[in-house]
Structures are given as structure tokens and as C-alpha cells.
């Protein structure tokens, strides 16, 4: 887009939300920085979509506030909020052409006809679909529909962009391609964006920061690597990748499978554990072993080396963990 808006932040303050007797969000507070690509990540039913819809104005909280660019929008209806939302189902209106879909929001803003046409083209150019502007949504592939939905939203130059599982209806290959495009577009527009997903890989690869949610509670907020290396609790540790949990000196600690060395001599200061290999899984780049130890099962990933024969199931091995790799979790 030609004119870049000053990016704005989003603040959610102390939100409680229930549908009937079901408490969906519990005292949720978080801040999305201006221009940031932010993710709500969690399993289904964790409240992430509800929180997104709350920001868009489709859900009403019993308690708490939502601020966009410092302005309290809690009492505003969806059509006064100026937040762009891309729906999981895309929600392209089947009775309108691609161009009419994209023009809709501009028409609602009473822009002069000439300007509408120009901005429709501009938005469709941005997603590379100007040549399909006269098609009906039913004549587009899933990926194209997704791009039209995005163009329709950014055509109105919203203050912030909300994406509700935008990749979930695409096939695996398409998903990788589109998520890269999303990231590029977001960088180019400098648009504060929230992305809802249950897929930690998606969130990790394109987002600046992630809020991990479970049972209506924000468990932890941080950059992808921080969350992976220093999860605040069992849920975050387990949800972002594979984790081993051990008792060490009366506290619970976590270690990632790739941070365990097999067959090592007892090293000074290292945490040693021994056990029998009960499973072996070849995963391509890594070989995964599951050990049965006196402290419970232990998952270990070793880089796969074709020049070395792997441990056999049933063999006894020693495992070493460097103390700095042990992370205390709540």
C-alpha cells in the first residue's frame, strides 16, 4: 500500500468471559506491541478464537477492557472498531464477484467510486490476484479464496489485522507457502497482526511473539525461542515440542530430547541417568529413543549418522544431561 499507517498496539486488560455457565476466558491480560506479528496459540477449546473475536467485537466480555491504539473500544460494535479480520472459513460472499467482495468495505466507508476501484486493484495486486477479479468465489481454489479474504480485509486499511486460523483449510504444501507470504506482507505493511493457531510450528515460524493459552488462561507470553527454552510451566513445555519431565532436588525440571547425550562417560557436574531402550523410531534427521529409567520414561533424540550403527532395542545405555539444560518448570 502506498500510505503506511502508524502501527498501533492492542491491550487486553483483565478480561473475563463466559458463555452461559461455561467460563471461556479467565482474567486475560496481554499487550501486543505496535507492528508486531503476534500469535494466540493453544489446543482447541483454549479460548484463543474467543479472545480474537472479543477484540473484533463479536464477543462481549463480562469484565475487562480492550484498547486499540490506546483507545477503549470495549463498548463499540464490530462495525465501528476498524479492525480487519480474516475468517477461518474466509466468509467470501458467494453472491458477489471477487472485486465486489473486496470493494464491500470501501463502499461501506462511502469512498468515491473512482477511489474504490483503485484500491480494489491495489489490494488484489498485493495478493497477486488482480486477474481473477471478475470470478465468483466458488470458481477459486482454497488458496486463492484465502488471498481474496486477505485482500478484502486489508483493502480498508484497518488499524490491526486479525487472522483466525487462516491456514487451516489449506493443504500442507500450500500452508508453508501462504504463511511465508503472510509474514512478508505483514512486514511490508507494518500492520499489527494477531494470528490464531493450534499449530506450534506455524506460530514459531512466522510470529514475533506468542501467547500460549490453555483453559481460558494465558499461560505464557514470549518470543518463540524463549518459550521453547524457558517454558514457565508443564503445559507450555509440553505444548511447544517434546519434553521430558524429571524430579531433581525436590523440584520439577524439564529437558528437551535433543539435549540428552547417550553413551556418555560420567562427566563432571552432568546429571547422569541410565536405562534400557524400549523403542526406537527413525525420523529422518534424528533417531528417537525411548528409555525406561528408574525415574520414568526418557525420550532422547540423536542426530542421525549413517556411519554409525544405532543402539538396539533392549540395550542398556547411560544418558547425560548438562545442568544448564535442565529448566525448572512450575
Amino acid at each position: 500500500m502506498t500510505a503506511l499507517l502508524q502501527p498501533v498496539g492492542i491491550d487486553v486488560e483483565g478480561v473475563d468471559l463466559a458463555f452461559g455457565a461455561t467460563q471461556v476466558l479467565r482474567n486475560v491480560s496481554l499487550s501486543v506491541h505496535p507492528g508486531e506479528f503476534f500469535a494466540f496459540l493453544g489446543p482447541s477449546g483454549c479460548g484463543k478464537t474467543t479472545l480474537l473475536r472479543l477484540i473484533a467485537g463479536f464477543n462481549v466480555a463480562q469484565k475487562g477492557r480492550v484498547l486499540i491504539g490506546g483507545r477503549d473500544v470495549t463498548a463499540l460494535p464490530p462495525w465501528r472498531r476498524d479492525v480487519g479480520m480474516v475468517f477461518q472459513s474466509y466468509a467470501l460472499w458467494p453472491h458477489m464477484s471477487v472485486a465486489r467482495n473486496v470493494a464491500f468495505g470501501l463502499e461501506e466507508r462511502r469512498l468515491p467510486r473512482s477511489e474504490v476501484a483503485g484500491r480494489v486493484d491495489e489490494a488484489l495486486d498485493l495478493v497477486g490476484l488482480r486477474h481473477l477479479k471478475d470470478r465468483k468465489p466458488s470458481q477459486l481454489s482454497g488458496g486463492q479464496q484465502q488471498r481474496v479474504a486477505l485482500a478484502r480485509t486489508i483493502a480498508v486499511r484497518p488499524q490491526v489485522l486479525l487472522l483466525d486460523e487462516p491456514l487451516s483449510n489449506l493443504d500442507a504444501k500450500m500452508r508453508v507457502e501462504v504463511r511465508r507470504e503472510l509474514r512478508e506482507l505483514q512486514q511490508r505493511l507494518k500492520l499489527t497482526t494477531i494470528f490464531v493457531t493450534h499449530d506450534q510450528e506455524e506460530a514459531n515460524t512466522i510470529c514475533d511473539r506468542i501467547a500460549v493459552m490453555s483453559e481460558g488462561i494465558v499461560q505464557q507470553v514470549g518470543a518463540p525461542m524463549d518459550l521453547y527454552d524457558r517454558p514457565a510451566n508443564l503445559f507450555v513445555a509440553g505444548f511447544l515440542g517434546t519434553a521430558n519431565f524429571l524430579e531433581e532436588g525436590g523440584r520439577k525440571v524439564m529437558v528437551r530430547p535433543q539435549n540428552v547425550q547417550l553413551g556418555a562417560e560420567a562427566a563432571t557436574g552432568a546429571f547422569m541417568i541410565s536405562g534400557a531402550i524400549v523403542h526406537r523410531e527413525f525420523q529422518g534427521a534424528t533417531m528417537r529413543y525411548v528409555l525406561e529409567t528408574e525415574r520414568g520414561p526418557l525420550i532422547v533424540d540423536e542426530p542421525y549418522d549413517p556411519g554409525r550403527s544405532p543402539y538396539a532395542v533392549g540395550s542398556q545405555v547411560n544418558a547425560a544431561i548438562r545442568p544448564e539444560r535442565l529448566v525448572a518448570v512450575a
Partner: protein, 572 residues
């Protein structure tokens, strides 16, 4: 119709066995004898010079040069169109408010909205006359209080009013379904882009609900265009269906005008169906939508709330008026030139039950047999289409569905013309045999029963049948042990619907009833209503009809609900 849209499922694909071929042949013969040949005969006769053979258009020239027929044609068209307009005005607020807003009693409103359908429209007509006629309750009160009257029931107005109140549920049901099926994200996306209120309705909601609306509206148009008994009871004779009836019954079977009118009726039905298909082309929106949830209901506030409850109260009063009127009439001693009856009595019911038990028995037998024929043929066609892929199955589906375009009057005339010359061993004409009434009813209701059977079979996953065959069950044993039990409640619902609507059907029946002792309830009701003295008894018979149909509808709904509940349990 949508016949071609069904993919053939399952292992049986493309396999034709002698047994299945015989089944298809028998159904084909049945449809040929009681649908195709009678209708073709009617069309044929319309193009023949009176009393001889050959091809001529003279009958049509006669038709269009006769003042009465031209007027009848325009009256029928005008009444049908206006009925659609009024019915839309009744249905729209009900459908919109109950599907889009948190609404006290939304379920009640939707249920009450369907109530008119459980009464034959002509039964309602007399009651409406008493309530809204020139000297009916409403006008007497208006005259008393404000000194003027409203001609609700004068001439064509009366037909429009009665038909609109009777048939608007077709629009209500179809429109509500459409509205409910719209992915809620469709509306939220518009709100997100700054659209709300009436603009949201005009730009997004209504266009998306259009398919349901058009389907309902064209159905109303066709039903009104073909209706015979309502105009006759309101003493409106210059419309097409009544003219066809009067020509055949008073001038005779040889008079070509009845046939010409029949052809005009068929063409009008086909035209309405064709136009609605055209309007709906490429608008099968349901397939584009995915994910997302159903509708979110919004709270109703302020002026909206007043408007909503106001509109709904008016509609509900209108909807219940014929029923209340009919009930009052059935227990009234004398009711004329007064807002309410002069006194009350149970004598009409006593009279009906002692004199007219035959009508009720006949109705139960006729409608029961017709319903049974319908579900047997419907299930068989559904199986041929969905499970064997035999081209014959598809053709049977088309032909059976084509009965939708055949008005009852036309079918009646066709039966008379085709089978009048055939005599039974008893010496009676075949056309006068009561069994013909059953067959006419069965043909008339077959399209609806067929859809119900198709739906029931489509819900059965083919893998269930394949599993049975994999374990050694033959095709016929699979049908008996797996398909039939699973289809049962769906088919039962189809039976009840056929039964209930056949019980109050009059247009084909009117042509075919030859003796009083063979007459069904609807016919008896019509006869009673002809004389002022018989009105009370007629109304009592009408109330009994309403109760029968109402109970059947209730049973059918319960069957469908139970079936759905069982299915969702099975999934979990």
C-alpha cells in the same frame, strides 16, 4: 429437480440384476399408467378437434377469444402473484426475527407459523368469511367503532387473503432454513468491514437467503394457481381451476375447454418452476461455505423490539384466525351478523359422528393406502438411484418428481378421460372405483415422499452396507437387515407427511368422487359447506381434519427428532 446431483455410492455401482430390472419395470408401468398416460391424454385431447381426431389449435383460439376464460386466466395469475406478495409480507419478519435475534418464544413462533398448513385451505375459507367478511366479526366491530368496513374478503381479495394465510408457511420454512444455514462468518465479515442494520440485511443476508425465498415463493405461486376448492367455496368462479372443474362436471367429458385449461395450468406450473430454477442457477451457496458455525443470535433492543413483537403478533393473530373461527363455528348454534355466535352447542359433532363416520373412515383408508404406496415406490426409486446407478432409476426419479407440475384438477380429468371407458367385472366404470382416488392421491404425494426416502437413504453411510456384504450378506439381505432398519424412521416420517396431506387433498378427489359413500372427509366438508345449514357440521368435520393432520404432523416431527438424536448418539 436435483435428481442428477446424486452421486452413485457404493459397491453396487453399475450393477444391474434381473430382480432390480423387474422392480424398475414395475414402477415404470405404474407411473406410466397413472401419471404419464392420463396427463398425455389430457394434453392430446386439448389439441384435437371436438369429437374427432387430428391436430388443431382451434380449442386454444376458442379459449383466448372467450371473455370468461381470458378473465379467468388473468384472475388466476393476479391472485397467485398477490398471494405470493402477501405471503412474503407475513413470512419475512417471522423468519428474520426468529432466526437472527434472541427471541422469547422463537420456537413457538416457528411452530405456530406452520399451523395453517394443517388445515385444508377451503375449510379456513368459511371461517375467514365469518371473521373478515363484509358482515364478519372484524368489519362489524370496525363499523361500530369507526364507521367503515374493509373489503378483506370481497371477490378475489378473499381468495388472496385465504391463500396467503394458508400457504405463507412454505416461504417461512424455506426462508428460515436458508437464513439458519448462512455461515455466521458471512455476516460477521460484513460487520467487520463496517456494515450493520438494514444494510447488512439488504446486501448480505437477503441475497444469501434468496434461494430459500425463491423456492418457497414459486411453490406458493403454483399451489395457489392450481387450487380449486378455495375459490369455489368463496364463490369465485372466474378463475382457471374452477372453470376446468365446472366445464367437465357440467358440460361433460367431451368438452375440450376443460383440457385446454388443464394445459394452461400445466404450462403455468412448469413456467414457475423453470423461472425459479433460472433464478437460482449458480446460487447453491451452501457448497461454498465451510468451517464456521451456525447463526449467532443477537439481543433485540429498543425500537427493533417493538417492531418485532408487533409484526409477529399481527401475523400470529391472522394465522390462528381461521382455526379459532372454524372451532367457534363448529360449536355455534347460529352465527351471522354478529361478532360472536349467539349460542353454543355440541350438536354438530354429534351429527357428524353419527352421519358422517363414513367420511372419516374413507379418509383414513385412502390416505393410509396412498402413503403406503408412496413410501414403497419412493424407497425403491431411491435405492435404484442412489445404490445401483441404473439409468432407469434416474428416469423414474424425474417422472415421479414431474408430478409436482401436474395440478390435481388435471390429474383428475386425466383419470376420468383415460379410465372412464374401462369397466370392472361388476359393471362399474374403473374411473368411478374408489381405488382410483387412492391412486390419484398417491401420485400427487409421491414427489414429497420420494424426497423423504432419498434423504433417509443418503444419510446411510455406504460403508455400513459394504461391511454387511463383506461379511457375506447378499444385496437383498443387506437391504433387509441394514438399509431398511436404518431408513425406517425417515421413511415413516415420509409416510406420515404423505398421509396427512393426502387426508385434506381435494382438487383431484373432487373430480373422482362418484358416490357419497366413497367420499373422503375433505369432500364431505365441501358438501356440508355448500349450504348454510350444513356449516356447523362442516366446521366440526374440519376441526376433526385439523386434529388428524395435526396429530400426524406431530408424530412425524417426533420421528425425525428421535432419528436425529439416535444418529448423534451413534456418532459420539
Amino acid at each position: 429437480m436435483s435428481g442428477s446431483a446424486f452421486p452413485v455410492q457404493g459397491a453396487g455401482r453399475g450393477i444391474a440384476s434381473p430382480g432390480l430390472a423387474l422392480l424398475a419395470l414395475l414402477i415404470g408401468l405404474f407411473l406410466a399408467a397413472f401419471l404419464v398416460i392420463p396427463v398425455v391424454t389430457v394434453i392430446f385431447v386439448a389439441f384435437q378437434p371436438k369429437g374427432s381426431t387430428g391436430f388443431t389449435l382451434i380449442n386454444f383460439v376458442d379459449f383466448f377469444s372467450t371473455d370468461l376464460f381470458r378473465r379467468s386466466f388473468w384472475n388466476s395469475a393476479y391472485v397467485s402473484l398477490m398471494s405470493v406478495v402477501i405471503a412474503s409480507l407475513l413470512a419475512l419478519p417471522l423468519a428474520y426475527y426468529t432466526t437472527r435475534f434472541e427471541f422469547r418464544g422463537a420456537a413457538l413462533v416457528q411452530t405456530l407459523g406452520v399451523i395453517p398448513l394443517i388445515m385444508p385451505p377451503f375449510a379456513g375459507a368459511v371461517a375467514m368469511q365469518l371473521l373478515f367478511g363484509r358482515n364478519g366479526t372484524v368489519n362489524l366491530l370496525l363499523d361500530d367503532w369507526f364507521g367503515f368496513k374493509v373489503p378483506f374478503m370481497e371477490g378475489l381479495n378473499g381468495v388472496i387473503f385465504v391463500e396467503a394465510v394458508h400457504y405463507f408457511p412454505f416461504i417461512l420454512v424455506n426462508l428460515s432454513t436458508s437464513l439458519r444455514n448462512i455461515d455466521r462468518a458471512m455476516e460477521e465479515a460484513a460487520q467487520n468491514l463496517g456494515c450493520s442494520g438494514f444494510r447488512l440485511f439488504r446486501r448480505i443476508v437477503f441475497p444469501l437467503a434468496m434461494p430459500g425465498y425463491v423456492a418457497g415463493a414459486s411453490l406458493v405461486f403454483i399451489k395457489v394457481f392450481d387450487d380449486l376448492a378455495t375459490p369455489l367455496l368463496l364463490n369465485v368462479k372466474d378463475m382457471l381451476a374452477p372453470q376446468a372443474y365446472l366445464r367437465i362436471t357440467s358440460v361433460g367429458l367431451a368438452d375440450p375447454m376443460g383440457y385446454v385449461i388443464s394445459v394452461v395450468l400445466i404450462v403455468a406450473s412448469l413456467l414457475a418452476m423453470w423461472l425459479s430454477t433460472l433464478a437460482l442457477r449458480g446460487k447453491d451457496y451452501a457448497t461454498v461455505q465451510r468451517g464456521g458455525g451456525g447463526t449467532v443470535k443477537r439481543p433485540l433492543r429498543g425500537i427493533d423490539r417493538v417492531l418485532a413483537y408487533g409484526a409477529i403478533t399481527v401475523v400470529l393473530v391472522l394465522v390462528l384466525a381461521p382455526h379459532v373461527g372454524l372451532f367457534l363455528l363448529s360449536i355455534a348454534t347460529i352465527w351471522s351478523f354478529a361478532p360472536l355466535p349467539d349460542g353454543y352447542t355440541a350438536a354438530h359433532y354429534a351429527r357428524v359422528l353419527s352421519e358422517s363416520g363414513q367420511y372419516i373412515t374413507n379418509t383414513l383408508i385412502y390416505a393410509g393406502l396412498a402413503g403406503l404406496i408412496d413410501v414403497v415406490i419412493g424407497s425403491a426409486i431411491a435405492y435404484l438411484v442412489l445404490r445401483t446407478g441404473m439409468p432407469a432409476g434416474r428416469w423414474l426419479d424425474y417422472v415421479a418428481t414431474a408430478a409436482l407440475a401436474v395440478p390435481g384438477v388435471v390429474l383428475g380429468i386425466g383419470f376420468l378421460r383415460t379410465y372412464f371407458g374401462v369397466t370392472l367385472p361388476s359393471g362399474q366404470s374403473l374411473a368411478a372405483f374408489w381405488g382410483m382416488i387412492v391412486l390419484a392421491l398417491a401420485i400427487r404425494r409421491l414427489p414429497y415422499a420420494l424426497r423423504a426416502c432419498m434423504a433417509a437413504m443418503q444419510q446411510i453411510s455406504v460403508s455400513l452396507e459394504e461391511a454387511a456384504q463383506n461379511l457375506g450378506a447378499t444385496r437383498s439381505r443387506t437391504v433387509r437387515r441394514i438399509v431398511m432398519p436404518l431408513m425406517l424412521s425417515g421413511v415413516a416420517a415420509g409416510f406420515v407427511t404423505s398421509f396427512a396431506t393426502a387426508a385434506v387433498e381435494l382438487s383431484a378427489t373432487m373430480m373422482l368422487v362418484q358416490t357419497q359413500s366413497d367420499a373422503p372427509l375433505a369432500y364431505g366438508l365441501y358438501v356440508f359447506m355448500q349450504s348454510p345449514a350444513g356449516r356447523g357440521a362442516g366446521a366440526a368435520l374440519g376441526v376433526i381434519a385439523v386434529v388428524i393432520v395435526g396429530l400426524s404432523t406431530y408424530v412425524s416431527n417426533r420421528l425425525v427428532e428421535r432419528d436425529m438424536a439416535a444418529r448423534s448418539e451413534a456418532k459420539e
